[in-house]
Protein backbone atom coordinates (compact mmCIF):
# COMPACT_ATOMS: atom_id res chain seq x y z
CA UNK A 1 0.00 0.00 0.00
CA UNK A 2 2.81 2.41 0.91
CA UNK A 3 4.45 1.56 -2.42
CA UNK A 4 1.25 2.56 -4.25
CA UNK A 5 1.22 5.84 -2.35
CA UNK A 6 4.87 6.56 -3.19
CA UNK A 7 4.40 5.64 -6.87
CA UNK A 8 1.32 7.79 -7.43
CA UNK A 9 2.64 10.72 -5.39
CA UNK A 10 5.86 10.59 -7.42
CA UNK A 11 3.92 10.47 -10.70
CA UNK A 12 1.84 13.47 -9.62
CA UNK A 13 4.98 15.36 -8.54
CA UNK A 14 6.79 14.61 -11.83
CA UNK A 15 3.74 15.71 -13.83
CA UNK A 16 3.56 18.96 -11.84
CA UNK A 17 7.26 19.63 -12.37
CA UNK A 18 6.90 19.01 -16.12
CA UNK A 19 3.86 21.28 -16.14
CA UNK A 20 5.78 24.12 -14.47
CA UNK A 21 8.72 23.62 -16.84
CA UNK A 22 6.53 23.54 -19.95
CA UNK A 23 4.57 26.64 -18.94
CA UNK A 24 7.65 28.64 -17.96
CA UNK A 25 8.37 31.22 -20.64
CA UNK A 26 11.58 30.20 -22.45
CA UNK A 27 13.06 33.64 -23.03
CA UNK A 28 11.42 35.43 -25.92
CA UNK A 29 9.71 32.39 -27.35
CA UNK A 30 6.60 33.01 -25.28
CA UNK A 31 6.07 36.16 -27.32
CA UNK A 32 3.33 36.30 -29.85
CA UNK A 33 5.48 35.58 -32.90
CA UNK A 34 8.10 33.20 -34.16
CA UNK A 35 11.61 34.56 -34.35
CA UNK A 36 12.65 33.51 -37.80
CA UNK A 37 15.69 35.76 -37.91
CA UNK A 38 17.92 32.84 -36.99
CA UNK A 39 16.86 31.02 -40.17
CA UNK A 40 18.80 33.48 -42.25
CA UNK A 41 21.93 33.49 -40.11
CA UNK A 42 24.86 32.65 -42.28
CA UNK A 43 27.69 33.19 -39.83
CA UNK A 44 30.60 30.73 -39.64
CA UNK A 45 29.77 27.39 -38.04
CA UNK A 46 31.92 26.57 -35.06
CA UNK A 47 32.96 23.26 -36.52
CA UNK A 48 35.03 25.28 -39.02
CA UNK A 49 37.39 26.36 -36.23
CA UNK A 50 38.56 22.80 -35.80
CA UNK A 51 41.96 23.39 -37.42
CA UNK A 52 42.74 26.14 -34.91
CA UNK A 53 41.63 24.00 -32.02
CA UNK A 54 43.82 21.17 -33.26
CA UNK A 55 46.78 23.51 -33.44
CA UNK A 56 46.08 24.77 -29.95
CA UNK A 57 46.15 21.24 -28.55
CA UNK A 58 49.25 20.02 -30.30
CA UNK A 59 51.05 17.47 -28.05
CA UNK A 60 54.42 18.73 -29.33
CA UNK A 61 53.92 22.01 -27.45
CA UNK A 62 53.33 20.17 -24.21
CA UNK A 63 56.41 18.03 -24.67
CA UNK A 64 58.49 21.13 -25.38
CA UNK A 65 57.12 22.89 -22.28
CA UNK A 66 57.72 19.85 -20.11
CA UNK A 67 61.35 19.78 -21.31
CA UNK A 68 62.22 23.47 -21.36
CA UNK A 69 59.59 25.49 -19.43
CA UNK A 70 58.71 25.57 -15.77
CA UNK A 71 56.15 23.28 -14.18
CA UNK A 72 53.94 26.29 -13.49
CA UNK A 73 53.73 27.20 -17.18
CA UNK A 74 52.96 23.62 -18.14
CA UNK A 75 50.10 23.53 -15.62
CA UNK A 76 48.77 26.85 -16.89
CA UNK A 77 48.93 25.72 -20.49
CA UNK A 78 47.15 22.48 -19.64
CA UNK A 79 44.43 24.48 -17.90
CA UNK A 80 44.11 26.78 -20.88
CA UNK A 81 43.86 23.83 -23.26
CA UNK A 82 41.12 22.37 -21.15
CA UNK A 83 39.29 25.68 -21.30
CA UNK A 84 39.65 25.82 -25.09
CA UNK A 85 38.34 22.25 -25.45
CA UNK A 86 35.36 23.10 -23.26
CA UNK A 87 34.61 26.27 -25.20
CA UNK A 88 34.84 24.35 -28.47
CA UNK A 89 32.46 21.73 -27.13
CA UNK A 90 29.94 24.33 -26.11
CA UNK A 91 30.21 25.98 -29.54
CA UNK A 92 29.47 22.64 -31.17
CA UNK A 93 26.41 22.46 -28.97
CA UNK A 94 25.39 25.93 -30.16
CA UNK A 95 25.59 24.68 -33.75
CA UNK A 96 23.44 21.71 -32.78
CA UNK A 97 20.92 23.93 -31.04
CA UNK A 98 20.72 26.30 -33.99
CA UNK A 99 19.94 23.39 -36.29
CA UNK A 100 17.29 22.16 -33.87
CA UNK A 101 15.68 25.59 -33.73
CA UNK A 102 15.60 25.70 -37.50
CA UNK A 103 14.03 22.24 -37.70
CA UNK A 104 11.42 23.06 -35.09
CA UNK A 105 10.47 26.34 -36.74
CA UNK A 106 10.06 24.57 -40.08
CA UNK A 107 8.00 21.79 -38.43
CA UNK A 108 5.79 24.25 -36.56
CA UNK A 109 5.06 26.19 -39.75
CA UNK A 110 4.40 23.13 -41.91
CA UNK A 111 0.92 21.84 -42.67
CA UNK A 112 2.05 18.24 -42.05
CA UNK A 113 4.96 16.76 -40.12
CA UNK A 114 6.30 13.23 -39.99
CA UNK A 115 6.35 11.50 -36.60
CA UNK A 116 9.41 9.49 -37.61
CA UNK A 117 11.45 12.59 -38.43
CA UNK A 118 10.42 14.30 -35.20
CA UNK A 119 11.11 11.23 -33.08
CA UNK A 120 14.50 10.79 -34.71
CA UNK A 121 15.33 14.41 -33.88
CA UNK A 122 14.25 13.85 -30.28
CA UNK A 123 16.47 10.78 -30.08
CA UNK A 124 19.42 12.64 -31.64
CA UNK A 125 18.98 15.53 -29.18
CA UNK A 126 18.95 13.13 -26.27
CA UNK A 127 22.04 11.33 -27.54
CA UNK A 128 23.88 14.58 -28.18
CA UNK A 129 22.99 15.93 -24.75
CA UNK A 130 24.22 12.74 -22.99
CA UNK A 131 27.49 12.67 -24.92
CA UNK A 132 28.07 16.38 -24.49
CA UNK A 133 27.63 16.26 -20.72
CA UNK A 134 29.73 13.12 -20.42
CA UNK A 135 32.65 14.60 -22.35
CA UNK A 136 32.33 17.97 -20.64
CA UNK A 137 32.27 16.44 -17.17
CA UNK A 138 35.25 14.25 -18.06
CA UNK A 139 37.40 17.12 -19.36
CA UNK A 140 36.29 19.53 -16.63
CA UNK A 141 37.16 17.18 -13.80
CA UNK A 142 40.36 16.05 -15.46
CA UNK A 143 39.07 12.48 -15.58
CA UNK A 144 39.45 12.40 -19.34
CA UNK A 145 42.59 13.66 -21.09
CA UNK A 146 42.20 16.47 -23.58
CA UNK A 147 41.63 14.53 -26.79
CA UNK A 148 44.06 14.17 -29.64
CA UNK A 149 41.99 16.36 -31.83
CA UNK A 150 44.25 15.63 -34.74
CA UNK A 151 42.70 12.19 -35.17
CA UNK A 152 39.35 13.84 -35.69
CA UNK A 153 40.70 16.37 -38.11
CA UNK A 154 39.56 14.65 -41.28
CA UNK A 155 36.02 13.95 -40.09
CA UNK A 156 35.41 17.38 -38.66
CA UNK A 157 36.96 19.44 -41.42
CA UNK A 158 34.78 17.56 -43.92
CA UNK A 159 31.76 18.14 -41.77
CA UNK A 160 32.67 21.80 -41.26
CA UNK A 161 32.54 22.53 -44.95
CA UNK A 162 29.26 20.63 -45.33
CA UNK A 163 27.79 22.40 -42.30
CA UNK A 164 28.86 25.81 -43.49
CA UNK A 165 27.21 25.30 -46.88
CA UNK A 166 24.14 23.43 -45.79
CA UNK A 167 23.29 25.71 -42.86
CA UNK A 168 23.49 28.70 -45.12
CA UNK A 169 21.43 26.97 -47.78
CA UNK A 170 18.84 25.70 -45.31
CA UNK A 171 18.53 29.11 -43.69
CA UNK A 172 18.10 30.85 -47.02
CA UNK A 173 15.58 28.26 -48.17
CA UNK A 174 13.54 28.56 -44.97
CA UNK A 175 13.58 32.34 -45.18
CA UNK A 176 12.49 32.19 -48.81
CA UNK A 177 9.67 29.80 -47.90
CA UNK A 178 8.55 32.28 -45.21
CA UNK A 179 8.53 35.09 -47.72
CA UNK A 180 6.62 33.01 -50.29
CA UNK A 181 4.07 31.87 -47.72
CA UNK A 182 3.64 35.46 -46.50
CA UNK A 183 3.00 36.66 -50.04
CA UNK A 184 0.49 33.88 -50.77
CA UNK A 185 -1.25 34.28 -47.45
CA UNK A 186 -1.17 38.06 -47.32
CA UNK A 187 -0.20 37.66 -43.69
CA UNK A 188 3.15 39.00 -42.58
CA UNK A 189 5.54 36.86 -40.57
CA UNK A 190 7.94 38.60 -38.28
CA UNK A 191 11.39 37.90 -39.48
CA UNK A 192 12.93 40.78 -37.60
Amino acid sequence: MTATLVIFFSIAAVLLLLLVWSLRAPGKSSGAKFDLASLEESGRRHATYFALIRQASSPADMEFLARRGSRQIAVRVRRERRRVALVYLSQLRDDFKRLLRLARAVAALSPAVGSRQELERLWLSWQFSCRYHLIRAGIYNGLLPIPQLGSLSHVVSQLAVQMENSMKELGERAAMAVRMASTLDGNGVDVA
Binding site: L15, L18, A105, L109, A112, G114, L124, V156
Partner: protein, 265 residues
Protein backbone atom coordinates in the same frame (compact mmCIF):
# COMPACT_ATOMS: atom_id res chain seq x y z
CA UNK B 1 -26.47 18.66 5.40
CA UNK B 2 -26.58 17.88 9.11
CA UNK B 3 -23.91 15.19 8.72
CA UNK B 4 -21.61 17.44 6.69
CA UNK B 5 -18.68 18.80 8.75
CA UNK B 6 -18.91 22.61 9.27
CA UNK B 7 -15.48 23.22 7.70
CA UNK B 8 -16.57 21.38 4.57
CA UNK B 9 -19.76 23.45 4.43
CA UNK B 10 -17.61 26.59 4.61
CA UNK B 11 -15.40 25.30 1.78
CA UNK B 12 -18.51 24.56 -0.29
CA UNK B 13 -19.74 28.13 0.20
CA UNK B 14 -16.35 29.60 -0.75
CA UNK B 15 -16.14 27.28 -3.75
CA UNK B 16 -19.60 28.32 -4.89
CA UNK B 17 -18.70 32.02 -4.63
CA UNK B 18 -15.41 31.58 -6.53
CA UNK B 19 -17.09 29.51 -9.26
CA UNK B 20 -19.76 32.17 -9.67
CA UNK B 21 -16.99 34.79 -9.98
CA UNK B 22 -15.31 32.71 -12.69
CA UNK B 23 -18.60 32.37 -14.58
CA UNK B 24 -19.24 36.10 -14.20
CA UNK B 25 -15.77 36.94 -15.58
CA UNK B 26 -16.21 34.52 -18.48
CA UNK B 27 -19.25 36.51 -19.56
CA UNK B 28 -18.16 39.99 -18.48
CA UNK B 29 -14.84 39.76 -20.35
CA UNK B 30 -16.43 38.02 -23.36
CA UNK B 31 -14.34 34.88 -22.97
CA UNK B 32 -17.44 32.77 -23.67
CA UNK B 33 -17.14 33.57 -27.39
CA UNK B 34 -13.72 31.96 -27.73
CA UNK B 35 -14.32 29.37 -25.01
CA UNK B 36 -17.89 28.04 -25.28
CA UNK B 37 -17.03 24.57 -23.98
CA UNK B 38 -15.08 26.00 -21.05
CA UNK B 39 -18.10 28.18 -20.22
CA UNK B 40 -20.33 25.09 -20.27
CA UNK B 41 -17.83 23.30 -17.99
CA UNK B 42 -17.87 26.11 -15.39
CA UNK B 43 -21.67 26.32 -15.56
CA UNK B 44 -21.94 22.53 -15.27
CA UNK B 45 -19.74 22.52 -12.18
CA UNK B 46 -22.09 24.98 -10.53
CA UNK B 47 -25.10 22.89 -11.54
CA UNK B 48 -23.43 19.77 -10.14
CA UNK B 49 -22.76 21.58 -6.84
CA UNK B 50 -26.40 22.68 -6.65
CA UNK B 51 -27.58 19.15 -7.48
CA UNK B 52 -25.34 17.60 -4.81
CA UNK B 53 -26.47 20.19 -2.27
CA UNK B 54 -30.03 19.10 -2.92
CA UNK B 55 -29.09 15.40 -2.65
CA UNK B 56 -27.11 15.87 0.60
CA UNK B 57 -29.96 17.87 2.14
CA UNK B 58 -32.53 15.21 1.34
CA UNK B 59 -30.58 11.96 1.77
CA UNK B 60 -27.75 12.94 4.12
CA UNK B 61 -24.11 13.54 3.29
CA UNK B 62 -22.93 10.02 4.08
CA UNK B 63 -25.93 8.11 2.75
CA UNK B 64 -25.48 5.45 0.03
CA UNK B 65 -27.98 7.35 -2.13
CA UNK B 66 -25.83 10.51 -1.95
CA UNK B 67 -22.73 8.52 -2.91
CA UNK B 68 -24.59 6.94 -5.81
CA UNK B 69 -25.83 10.32 -7.04
CA UNK B 70 -22.32 11.76 -6.82
CA UNK B 71 -20.85 9.00 -8.96
CA UNK B 72 -23.70 9.36 -11.47
CA UNK B 73 -23.04 13.08 -11.90
CA UNK B 74 -19.24 12.74 -11.96
CA UNK B 75 -18.81 11.24 -15.49
CA UNK B 76 -20.73 14.17 -16.92
CA UNK B 77 -18.43 16.63 -15.11
CA UNK B 78 -15.37 14.72 -16.33
CA UNK B 79 -16.65 14.75 -19.91
CA UNK B 80 -17.21 18.50 -19.69
CA UNK B 81 -13.67 18.90 -18.31
CA UNK B 82 -12.14 16.87 -21.15
CA UNK B 83 -14.06 18.86 -23.76
CA UNK B 84 -13.06 22.19 -22.19
CA UNK B 85 -9.38 21.20 -22.11
CA UNK B 86 -9.53 19.93 -25.71
CA UNK B 87 -11.03 23.25 -26.74
CA UNK B 88 -8.12 25.10 -25.09
CA UNK B 89 -5.56 22.85 -26.77
CA UNK B 90 -7.26 23.34 -30.12
CA UNK B 91 -7.03 27.12 -29.65
CA UNK B 92 -3.27 26.78 -29.07
CA UNK B 93 -2.62 24.51 -32.04
CA UNK B 94 -5.24 25.54 -34.57
CA UNK B 95 -2.79 27.56 -36.67
CA UNK B 96 -0.19 24.78 -36.55
CA UNK B 97 -1.89 21.80 -38.26
CA UNK B 98 1.28 19.72 -38.45
CA UNK B 99 1.99 19.99 -34.73
CA UNK B 100 -1.71 19.54 -33.88
CA UNK B 101 -1.70 16.22 -35.75
CA UNK B 102 1.52 15.21 -34.00
CA UNK B 103 -0.01 16.14 -30.62
CA UNK B 104 -3.04 13.98 -31.29
CA UNK B 105 -0.86 10.99 -32.07
CA UNK B 106 1.22 11.50 -28.94
CA UNK B 107 -1.83 12.06 -26.71
CA UNK B 108 -3.56 8.99 -28.15
CA UNK B 109 -0.50 6.81 -27.52
CA UNK B 110 0.01 8.11 -23.96
CA UNK B 111 -3.71 7.84 -23.13
CA UNK B 112 -3.96 4.26 -24.42
CA UNK B 113 -1.16 3.17 -22.10
CA UNK B 114 -2.59 4.92 -19.03
CA UNK B 115 -6.18 3.79 -19.70
CA UNK B 116 -5.04 0.18 -20.16
CA UNK B 117 -3.23 0.35 -16.82
CA UNK B 118 -6.22 2.00 -15.06
CA UNK B 119 -8.64 -0.59 -16.46
CA UNK B 120 -6.39 -3.45 -15.38
CA UNK B 121 -5.96 -2.13 -11.83
CA UNK B 122 -9.71 -1.33 -11.47
CA UNK B 123 -10.49 -4.96 -12.36
CA UNK B 124 -8.13 -6.32 -9.70
CA UNK B 125 -9.83 -4.32 -6.90
CA UNK B 126 -13.62 -4.33 -7.60
CA UNK B 127 -14.52 -2.59 -4.30
CA UNK B 128 -12.36 0.39 -5.25
CA UNK B 129 -13.10 0.29 -8.96
CA UNK B 130 -14.92 3.65 -9.11
CA UNK B 131 -12.15 5.47 -7.26
CA UNK B 132 -9.44 3.76 -9.33
CA UNK B 133 -11.30 4.54 -12.56
CA UNK B 134 -11.59 8.15 -11.44
CA UNK B 135 -7.86 8.24 -10.67
CA UNK B 136 -7.14 6.63 -14.04
CA UNK B 137 -9.17 9.29 -15.81
CA UNK B 138 -7.35 12.14 -14.06
CA UNK B 139 -3.98 10.49 -14.64
CA UNK B 140 -4.74 10.11 -18.36
CA UNK B 141 -5.97 13.68 -18.49
CA UNK B 142 -2.86 15.07 -16.76
CA UNK B 143 -0.45 12.98 -18.87
CA UNK B 144 -2.18 14.06 -22.10
CA UNK B 145 -2.15 17.71 -21.03
CA UNK B 146 1.52 17.66 -20.01
CA UNK B 147 2.50 15.91 -23.28
CA UNK B 148 0.69 18.60 -25.25
CA UNK B 149 2.30 21.40 -23.24
CA UNK B 150 5.74 19.87 -23.73
CA UNK B 151 5.16 20.00 -27.48
CA UNK B 152 3.98 23.59 -27.16
CA UNK B 153 7.24 24.48 -25.44
CA UNK B 154 9.37 22.38 -27.73
CA UNK B 155 8.01 24.03 -30.90
CA UNK B 156 7.89 27.50 -29.30
CA UNK B 157 4.18 27.88 -29.96
CA UNK B 158 2.98 31.15 -28.42
CA UNK B 159 0.49 30.70 -25.55
CA UNK B 160 -1.60 33.47 -24.07
CA UNK B 161 -1.21 33.76 -20.25
CA UNK B 162 -4.98 33.26 -19.84
CA UNK B 163 -4.80 29.88 -21.59
CA UNK B 164 -1.69 28.98 -19.63
CA UNK B 165 -3.56 29.58 -16.36
CA UNK B 166 -6.59 27.57 -17.47
CA UNK B 167 -4.56 24.58 -18.69
CA UNK B 168 -2.27 24.74 -15.66
CA UNK B 169 -5.31 24.75 -13.37
CA UNK B 170 -6.79 21.68 -15.04
CA UNK B 171 -3.51 19.82 -14.71
CA UNK B 172 -2.91 20.81 -11.06
CA UNK B 173 -6.40 19.68 -10.10
CA UNK B 174 -6.06 16.35 -11.90
CA UNK B 175 -2.68 15.67 -10.25
CA UNK B 176 -4.28 16.46 -6.87
CA UNK B 177 -7.11 14.00 -7.53
CA UNK B 178 -4.57 11.30 -8.44
CA UNK B 179 -2.71 11.87 -5.17
CA UNK B 180 -5.88 12.32 -3.05
CA UNK B 181 -7.60 9.17 -4.36
CA UNK B 182 -4.47 7.12 -3.64
CA UNK B 183 -4.22 8.64 -0.17
CA UNK B 184 -7.88 7.87 0.56
CA UNK B 185 -7.42 4.22 -0.41
CA UNK B 186 -4.33 3.88 1.78
CA UNK B 187 -5.80 5.74 4.77
CA UNK B 188 -9.10 3.84 4.59
CA UNK B 189 -7.43 0.45 4.44
CA UNK B 190 -5.21 1.35 7.40
CA UNK B 191 -8.39 2.40 9.30
CA UNK B 192 -7.26 5.99 9.66
CA UNK B 193 -10.07 8.07 11.25
CA UNK B 194 -11.91 10.57 9.02
CA UNK B 195 -10.05 9.52 5.87
CA UNK B 196 -13.07 10.53 3.75
CA UNK B 197 -13.04 14.02 5.22
CA UNK B 198 -9.32 14.44 4.56
CA UNK B 199 -9.92 13.41 0.93
CA UNK B 200 -12.72 15.96 0.64
CA UNK B 201 -10.66 18.77 2.21
CA UNK B 202 -7.67 18.21 -0.06
CA UNK B 203 -9.75 18.18 -3.23
CA UNK B 204 -11.88 21.15 -2.17
CA UNK B 205 -8.94 23.35 -1.13
CA UNK B 206 -7.06 22.70 -4.39
CA UNK B 207 -10.25 23.13 -6.44
CA UNK B 208 -10.85 26.52 -4.79
CA UNK B 209 -7.21 27.50 -5.40
CA UNK B 210 -7.50 26.59 -9.08
CA UNK B 211 -10.76 28.51 -9.44
CA UNK B 212 -9.15 31.57 -7.81
CA UNK B 213 -6.20 31.38 -10.21
CA UNK B 214 -8.66 31.11 -13.10
CA UNK B 215 -10.61 34.11 -11.83
CA UNK B 216 -7.38 36.13 -11.60
CA UNK B 217 -6.39 35.11 -15.15
CA UNK B 218 -9.82 35.66 -16.68
CA UNK B 219 -9.80 39.32 -15.60
CA UNK B 220 -7.52 39.95 -18.56
CA UNK B 221 -8.54 39.70 -22.19
CA UNK B 222 -6.88 37.17 -24.50
CA UNK B 223 -4.35 38.83 -26.83
CA UNK B 224 -5.31 39.22 -30.48
CA UNK B 225 -5.04 36.01 -32.47
CA UNK B 226 -1.78 35.58 -34.40
CA UNK B 227 -2.00 33.53 -37.57
CA UNK B 228 1.42 32.58 -38.91
CA UNK B 229 1.98 32.03 -42.60
CA UNK B 230 2.63 28.34 -43.30
CA UNK B 231 5.33 26.88 -45.52
CA UNK B 232 4.32 24.82 -48.54
CA UNK B 233 4.30 21.06 -47.64
CA UNK B 234 7.40 20.42 -49.76
CA UNK B 235 9.57 22.59 -47.47
CA UNK B 236 9.30 20.18 -44.56
CA UNK B 237 9.72 17.13 -46.78
CA UNK B 238 12.96 18.51 -48.20
CA UNK B 239 14.45 20.24 -45.16
CA UNK B 240 13.65 17.92 -42.28
CA UNK B 241 15.71 14.92 -43.50
CA UNK B 242 18.60 17.26 -44.34
CA UNK B 243 18.60 18.87 -40.91
CA UNK B 244 18.44 15.44 -39.29
CA UNK B 245 21.43 14.26 -41.28
CA UNK B 246 23.40 17.33 -40.09
CA UNK B 247 22.37 16.60 -36.52
CA UNK B 248 23.52 13.01 -36.96
CA UNK B 249 26.87 14.27 -38.27
CA UNK B 250 27.36 16.52 -35.24
CA UNK B 251 26.41 13.61 -33.02
CA UNK B 252 29.03 11.48 -34.75
CA UNK B 253 31.69 14.09 -33.97
CA UNK B 254 30.88 13.84 -30.27
CA UNK B 255 30.74 10.08 -30.49
CA UNK B 256 34.24 9.96 -32.01
CA UNK B 257 35.45 12.54 -29.50
CA UNK B 258 34.23 10.31 -26.69
CA UNK B 259 35.55 7.09 -28.18
CA UNK B 260 39.02 8.57 -28.64
CA UNK B 261 39.12 9.73 -25.06
CA UNK B 262 37.96 6.43 -23.66
CA UNK B 263 40.40 4.43 -25.78
CA UNK B 264 43.39 6.56 -24.86
CA UNK B 265 45.73 4.87 -22.39
Amino acid sequence: MATMPPLLVLLWVISGIVQLSVLFLVFAKHHFRALPLFTIYVAFNLCQAAFLLFVYTHFGFLSPAARQMYWISEPLALTAQALAATELLYLLFRHYPGIWALTWRLVAAASTIVIAYAAASARTQPTWSLLIANRGYHLTFAVALVCSLLLVRSYAIPVDPVYKALLGGFCVFSCTVVAANTLLEVLFLSRFPKSGEIWNYIEMVVFIGVQMAWAAALRHPVAADYKPALFPPSTYERMSPEVNSRLRALNDVLSKFLRLQVLRP
